[in-house]
């Protein structure tokens, strides 16, 4: 078995295991919010932290794994670096688990300054958490720099970013996957660097006791967090761009519009994160306006171009709706739907109402679960299927997809309804006057169970191919 194949199989396994564990942590939160199992209430926030950081990190590595496998069709990323990234990720996760399970660290997924220092958990738990993020960040930085290097080895920066399309030329051919990956990786360097700066400030304060500027820390934290989540999506989209034509039998090449929309992403995605600071009165007001405009500009063109491109590609094409394709198709659509929810929330006038209600988890779970997760799971299935060519029972596969979609959207609907009822996010137990929150949590649990069932069947279906492809 060659190293590239082995690496991909390892990433797939890590993803399956961690997804189940983190999903159970999510389910645990809903159980507490539904007023069941109240003896475990004190674990809500540690679990929320584990679930949030874990999921954000998991799908980020999973999407890089997809993108790097796709990229290797055109360039030569180092498989040793990919292996190194796997070890680094596992090590980082161990530190995370220690800080959460042994130290009850619970500062939430973006560990907003100064909460890690003020939460009442032991200092070593904070340290273990920061170390975890440091290890992960450093590992990933090496990984994406290597991927970027592999692109640079073959394309000039102008080619990789498709500037010749913008200038009206049609060649050389640059696959959209390469273009989108290049955009995402460059922004990814900015993302991880801002993570590094935040961590340095945290360590400096731990060592010297000199305080940090809370506004600066929050800006840097969200530059990091917002980019991490957005780029994960873009990388998965890149993979989908690459495999779609093999299902629809139609090419999906780069062109002027694709190039313009993704270059605009690169230019402004670094500014969109301001929408996380709308409530911060000390932030300069014009940043807020920039945040709203950049949120629109960085998401709408790319998503519209991609979603319509995909629909046009599929429309009346003789598509075989296998598990892989179905998940990827619905993944793109879910990205669009969640994106609409996100754009609504990034509108200042709306945000002042919806901020910190469950609307926020609602929209980001939409493009995560129904977008990113589906695209990645679809790609993983596609990969294992390509290797083994096992016979596909399309009827069974449709049921799997249906369970995942019905379970997922039902779960999300409860978040949206809660948001519309002003139920706050991050409440372990809802006060009496918001008791509808507990009720909706209970209903959400039914849908989570359905989703989980679909997921288990999916893992069975893909896992069979995974096992078989060990001998390839």
């Amino acid at each position: 078995m060659n190293l590239a194949h082995k690496n991909t199989l390892n990433w797939i396994m890590v993803t399956f295991v961690l997804f189940i564990v983190l999903l159970l942590a999510g389910m645990f939160m809903r159980i507490i919010q539904a007023n069941m199992f109240s003896s475990a209430q004190s674990w809500f926030y540690p679990m929320m932290t584990l679930h949030g950081v874990g999921m954000a990190g998991l799908w980020w590595v999973a999407s890089i794994a997809c993108a790097s496998r796709v990229l290797s069709r055109y360039t030569a990323p180092s498989e040793c670096v990919s292996r190194f990234a796997l070890y680094g990720t596992v090590l980082g996760v161990l530190f995370l688990l220690a800080s959460v399970f042994l130290g009850q660290f619970a500062a939430g997924w973006y560990f907003l300054y100064p909460l890690p220092f003020k939460g009442g958990w032991p200092t070593w738990a904070t340290l273990s958490f920061l170390l975890s993020i440091t290890i992960l960040g450093a590992t990933w930085l090496v990984w994406i720099l290597d991927l970027l290097r592999s692109i640079a080895k073959k394309y000039t920066i102008g080619q990789a970013l498709g500037w010749h399309y913008i200038l009206g030329k049609t060649g050389p051919d640059v696959p959209p996957a390469v273009l989108i990956t290049a955009v995402s990786l460059i922004a990814g360097v900015a993302c991880l660097l801002s993570g590094v700066v935040v961590l340095l400030f945290f360590y400096y304060e731990m060592l010297t006791g000199v305080a940090n500027d809370a506004l600066l820390m929050k800006n840097l934290t969200f530059l990091f967090g917002h980019l991490l989540v957005n780029l994960s999506l873009y990388l998965a989209v890149a993979a989908v761009y690459d495999v779609f034509p093999s299902y629809t039998g139609r090419p999906w090449p780069s062109n002027k519009i694709v190039a313009i929309s993704w270059n605009s992403v690169l230019v402004i995605v670094l500014l969109a994160y301001f929408h996380h600071l709308y409530m911060d009165f000390v932030q300069p007001t014009y940043f807020q306006y920039v945040g709203q405009i950049a949120s629109y500009m960085s998401s709408i063109p790319a998503a519209v171009v991609t979603v319509f491109g995909a629909i046009a590609l599929v429309y009346r094409a003789p598509v075989r709706w296998s598990l892989g394709f179905t998940l990827m198709f619905f993944g793109l659509m879910g990205w669009g739907i969640g994106g609409i929810g996100a754009v609504i929330d990034s509108t200042i006038a709306v945000n002042s109402k919806l901020h910190n209600t469950l609307w926020v988890p609602a929209h980001f779970h939409t493009y995560m679960i129904e977008g990113l997760v589906l695209m990645v799971l679809g790609y993983f299935y596609h990969y294992c299927q390509e290797k083994t060519k096992l016979q596909e029972n399309l009827y069974f596969q449709k049921i799997i997809a249906a369970l995942i979609l019905v379970g997922g959207y039902g779960f999300l609907l409860m978040f949206y309804l809660s948001g519309a009822h002003s139920i706050p996010r991050r409440f372990a137990v809802y006060p009496a006057d918001l008791s509808s929150g507990a009720q909706l949590s209970g209903i959400a649990l039914i849908f989570i169970s359905i989703f989980l069932l679909g997921l288990v069947l999916y893992i069975y279906e893909t896992g069979r191919r995974w096992v078989k492809s060990l001998d390839v």
């Binding site: 539904a34 069941m36 000039t156 080619q159 050389p172 000199v210 809370a214 600066l216």
Partner: protein, 271 residues
């Protein structure tokens, strides 16, 4: 695919599983929620009530006003009666264990345990303090108040009691009420005092404010803004510049990577 899970038999299994889930996930929360709601309503009813400033008699016959206790630090008030065969003893003991575990008594708060049974006098409350093992604790006081005051305070702090004529015992709540400057800040209901909930209450009592923005003059690494003391004008600090470093460095690194690879790159023809 081998197993046939659309057959009639397995379909009924699915339906059963679904029904079971419904019961567990909808009915159970409803039930728990009702209880929770009741408790929360009781607890929140008395928040921010003004507690009447009544006179307390301590076992050593010293008399003082409640306001003398809350004058310099918060006071946690709870009720008991000596003859209780129910929760009073275990409740006070669990309070003691928690206080020992969490600490902060004397520095951050006082505790006042009052008898609501008019039959209790100085001797009875002293005996209770001894039974719990806190008679030497200077800032945990046991005392009595006049019968009319019992009613006034219980109304204000969300405590209730009722004489059960058959047993001669009182049916009563088990609760601690945290009072700061004469106002109810928090009520803990329940006969066991857990450290987590107790600690929460202390944070709230202290009104611990986590500053989200530093004050001028504080020692801070890089600020986004500086306030010019003289002109009172706000200027950008170095922090604002730092915000641009990640983006700038990323572009720089990408530029360098692509530039350095340009020598070894195979030329890409038009394809």
């Amino acid at each position: 695919m081998t197993f046939n899970f659309t057959s009639l038999k397995s379909r009924t299994v699915w339906i059963k599983i679904f029904l079971l889930l419904t019961v567990v996930f909808i009915i159970a929360p409803l039930k728990a929620q009702e209880q929770e709601k009741e408790i929360l309503e009781k607890v929140s009813k008395s928040l921010y009530n003004q507690v009447p400033d009544v006179e307390i008699s301590l076992p050593n016959n010293q008399k003082l006003l409640l306001s003398e206790l809350w004058k310099d630090k918060p006071v946690l008030i709870n009720f008991f009666y000596r003859e209780c065969t129910g929760t009073c003893n275990p409740f006070l003991r669990s309070l003691k264990t928690t206080v020992e575990k969490v600490g902060g008594i004397s520095e951050d708060y006082r505790i006042l345990s009052l008898s609501f049974d008019p039959k209790d006098g100085p001797r009875e409350v002293a005996a209770m303090a001894e039974a719990v093992g806190v008679e030497k604790q200077k800032d945990w006081m046991f005392g009595t108040i006049k019968p009319i005051d019992i009613q006034k305070i219980s109304d204000a702090i969300g405590f209730w009691y009722r004489l059960d004529s058959k047993t001669g015992q009182f049916d009563h709540a088990s609760s601690i009420t945290a009072v700061r400057n004469g106002k109810v800040i928090r009520v803990l209901l329940g006969s066991l005092v857990t450290p987590t909930r107790f600690r929460d209450m202390l944070y709230e009592l202290k009104g611990t404010f986590v500053p989200t923005y530093s004050n001028p003059g504080e020692n801070v690494l890089f600020r986004c803004f500086r306030v010019d003391e003289l002109s009172k004008s706000v200027k950008f600090g170095w922090g604002m510049l730092i915000l641009f470093i990640p983006g700038f460095c990323a572009l720089l690194i990408a530029g360098v990577l692509f530039h350095k690879s340009s020598h070894s790159r195979e030329p890409m023809g038009l394809s």
